[in-house]
């Protein structure tokens, strides 16, 4: 395992909290803030999705540009413009040496439903040709590459809840292997009823009668580079990946992959568990996941109790959720004041404190249905 040293140069986001990192931080700092959940679907009640309700690309993308993009690509493009802004124009790198790594759970599903609507309710000839290219999950990353003329590697990973974390880890690998000089590493998801309905049927979505997750819409972008530049926010110092066999829709019963992935990430970063000051919790409202996380963190940290913060219960779960947690970790180790977020209940009970002080090292674990686990370590530059 080679030592990682990849710099987080800037960040950008669109989420249910609004457009931009300041809007996100402000919303999360208010303990009472909750997004309005919901997505319409045919002939049935709304489902809990934390959608970007007031999102508009108007202030960032010219109308003719925005019109060419589908919704997840617009969301990603606006988040990316926030991350690209501080890097200057021209960028510090040749655009052929800058790329995009995206993770997504469901990008393309709305376009997919539009094409199938024509197939099933009209005729195949009426399938909209402009929509079809947007049905591929790599459409947002590709459209971003085309929009910003980024000719470096352009990869998309579909790994449900950990897609965003995978994208960040693989962007780090691409940089270390010198396949690019800079990468926009991101998570992006859209609000769609098909995915939500599937998880409602699996009884994992939150209702008034049972705990569970809400799904997320949004994008989170971390601009990563091999060179630190004048003011890096953080260092992506390590990542790890492991898995446990499980059906695609179920979490594994064993916390081992989460522990192993975290240990690999720490080892690559050259850190001991006791040096971790912040854990970005994977809690998303599903009790079984909370129980797995608690077992994993106790195995990893022993008696050590870093600050723990959870956001997915409020912002929703998805590939974007992992990238959002990494984004907040970068923001935190950069020395930005931490808002008074509370630790999730299952970790408070085990002695994990809520965020109050600045931290220098953060662990961002992730676990997907099907059993794939990823962990990132971000440290102060």
């Amino acid at each position: 395992m080679s030592a990682a040293r990849v710099f987080v140069r800037s960040i950008g986001t669109v989420s249910a909290a609004g457009t931009g990192v300041p809007a996100l931080v402000q919303a999360l700092a208010d303990p009472a803030w909750r997004p309005q959940l919901g997505i319409e679907r045919p002939d049935a009640p709304s489902l809990p999705v934390a959608a970007c309700r007031d999102f508009s690309p108007r202030d960032v993308l010219p109308p003719l540009v925005a019109r060419r993009l589908d919704r997840p690509a617009r969301i990603l493009a606006v988040a990316a413009r926030e991350a690209l802004g501080p890097l200057g124009d021209p960028l510090p790198w040749a655009r052929d040496r800058a790329g995009v790594c995206a993770g997504t759970w469901n990008a393309g599903t709305s376009a997919l439903l539009e094409v199938l609507r024509a197939v099933f309710l009209a005729t195949p000839e009426e399938a909209p040709p402009a929509q079809f290219p947007s049905t591929v999950a790599n459409a947002p990353a590709s459209q971003l590459g085309i929009l910003e003329k980024l000719g470096g590697p352009n990869l998309t990973f579909a790994e449900k809840q950990v897609g965003g974390l995978r994208a960040i880890a693989e962007a780090g690998r691409l940089l270390l292997r010198r396949r690019a000089d800079a990468m926009l590493a991101c998570g992006v998801d859209e609000a769609d009823w098909l995915n939500a309905e599937a998880y409602e049927r699996l009884r994992t979505l939150r209702t008034s009668a049972r705990p569970g997750m809400a799904l997320a819409e949004g994008a989170a972008v971390l601009a990563l580079a091999r060179e630190p530049g004048p003011a890096p926010l953080a260092v992506l110092a390590g990542w790890g990946s492991a898995s446990a066999p499980a059906p695609p829709w179920r979490y594994p019963e064993d916390p081992a992959p989460l522990v192993l992935a975290s240990r690999q990430a720490l080892e690559r970063a050259g850190l001991e568990p006791a040096e971790v000051g912040l854990v970005m919790s994977i809690a998303n409202g599903i009790p079984a996941l909370a129980a797995l996380e608690l077992q994993a963190l106790e195995a990893l940290f022993g008696a050590h109790r870093p600050v723990a913060v959870a956001i997915a219960e409020r912002l929703g779960e998805g590939a974007v959720s992992g990238a959002l947690r990494a984004l907040i970790a970068a923001h935190a180790v950069a020395g930005s004041p931490l808002p008074a977020w509370e630790a999730p209940a299952h970790l408070i009970g085990a002695g994990f404190p809520s965020a109050t002080t600045a931290v220098r090292a953060a662990l961002v674990p992730g676990l997907a249905g099907g059993g794939s686990a990823i962990a990132l370590v971000l440290i102060a530059p």
Partner: protein, 404 residues
């Protein structure tokens, strides 16, 4: 420097349920493109596809019996993985193994979910059909393979459309070379469905006749389906157990042309960058390349752009580098295509036979390559490329080398 060897290959295509049937029929110049029976094709420009015969989907004895809701795409992946492990003489057990799994993820369970979507769009009930939607996530075939074969290492699903599984093989080789795992299963699986059939139909990108890559009469692609899984193994690990490789993965390149969602940059300059990046990663000179397994979709725009890229890299020497496409025989298997083509390229290197471009008969001045008319011919490339291009301008090239 550690090496990544391909020590096992599993293939499932329209030409056959296994590696040897596919290879033998491909070399004979046969095509698997025939009338599609998976769903009603009334109203489409074409009625053809390279469909996998359902009789091939009887699963062998696996360590863990797949769930009854396992999709066609997952069954393809399970069959290919099982064959690849057996071919590599690696045990097929349910004992946990810290191996990586890197697959190109395509439509996954979308064919099955389309029944559910059709009912819902028509106002039908939502209380039935849970099994139809559980494999909508594109990494579902990866989850099924990992669950069946108890893989506990990194599990990565690349979804860059038609270059997905080319990149997957490249990442797998990198994990092996970087000492992260001793063995990785890599490739891809994709199944036909109404979405892709209607989508390419709407783009007018399909030929009503079987696809004719690099041919001047070409009118578009033929869709296909299938799976390939390659055992990518660290050389010393393989040597210690006496395994012989088909080929070595020397390197790969991946770039984006940042040009258009569905059309390649026509001058070939962008694709040229990918080829050069792959050669540089492999430490190989263009003069060493003896065969190219091309993307060769048979669309009007793809084939000339691809050939232009090769011309930019190889110059006049391109005339002596055979370039064949398997898509006239196997159809365009989308996210599985790159894995299948990497497998075919490895077989070509190992067996000294170059697969033909089935469907090619009349040269096109816009595609100035030796396209290997059928049947296949002898050839002993020491270095070969497997090249893919995808929606969104994502291109990827693998460099494979002969066994040491």
């Amino acid at each position: 420097m550690r090496e990544a060897w391909i020590t096992g290959i599993g293939l499932l295509t329209a030409l056959g349920p296994d590696r040897e049937t596919t290879w033998g029929r491909l070399l004979a110049g046969e095509t698997g493109i025939r009338p599609l029976t998976l769903f009603d094709t009334t109203g489409y420009r074409t009625h053809l596809a390279a469909q996998v015969d359902d009789s091939a989907l009887r699963l062998p004895t696996l360590p863990k019996r797949p769930n009854r809701h396992t999709s066609r795409a997952s069954r393809f992946a399970l069959l290919a993985a099982s064959e690849a492990l057996a071919d590599a003489r690696l045990p097929i057990t349910s004992d946990a193994r810290n191996w990586a799994l890197v697959l190109g993820g395509g439509t996954a369970g979308l064919f099955e979910a389309e029944g559910f979507v059709a009912r819902r769009l028509r106002g039908g009930p939502r209380v039935h059909g849970l099994g139809e939607v559980v494999e909508v996530p594109q990494d579902s075939p990866s989850d099924r393979v990992a669950q069946c074969f108890a893989l506990t290492g990194p599990r990565i699903t690349v979804t860059t459309a038609c270059s997905s599984s080319t990149i997957a093989v490249g990442i797998a080789a990198e994990l092996v070379r970087d000492r992260e795992v001793p063995v990785a299963l890599a490739g891809g699986s994709d199944a036909l469905c109404r979405l892709t059939y209607a989508g390419f139909n709407s783009l007018r990108a399909v030929d009503p006749e079987p696809a004719r890559p690099f041919d001047r009469r070409r009118k578009g692609l033929s869709l296909g389906e299938g799976a390939a899984v390659l055992v990518v193994e660290e050389a010393e690990h393989a040597r210690q157990r006496g395994a012989r490789p088909y080929a070595r993965v020397l390197g790969h390149g991946v770039t984006n042309d940042a040009f258009h969602m569905t059309q390649p940059e026509p001058s070939g300059a962008a694709w040229e960058r990918t080829v050069r990046a792959a050669l540089a990663d492999a430490g190989v000179a263009p003069s060493e390349v003896g065969y190219i397994n091309g993307h060769g979709t048979a669309t009007e725009q793809n084939d000339p752009a691809e050939c232009a890229a090769y011309l930019r890299v190889f110059g006049e020497r391109l005339a002596s580098v055979p370039v064949s496409s398997v898509k006239g025989a196997l159809g365009h298997c989308l996210c599985a295509a790159g894995g299948i083509e990497a497998a075919i390229t490895a077989l070509a290197i190992a067996r000294g036979m170059l697969p033909p471009t089935v469907g090619f008969a009349q040269a096109d001045p816009a595609c100035p390559v030796d396209a290997v008319p059928k049947p296949g011919r002898k050839g002993t490339p020491r270095v070969a490329l497997s090249s893919s291009f995808a929606f969104g301008g994502n291109s990827a090239v693998l460099v494979l080398g002969s066994r040491p």
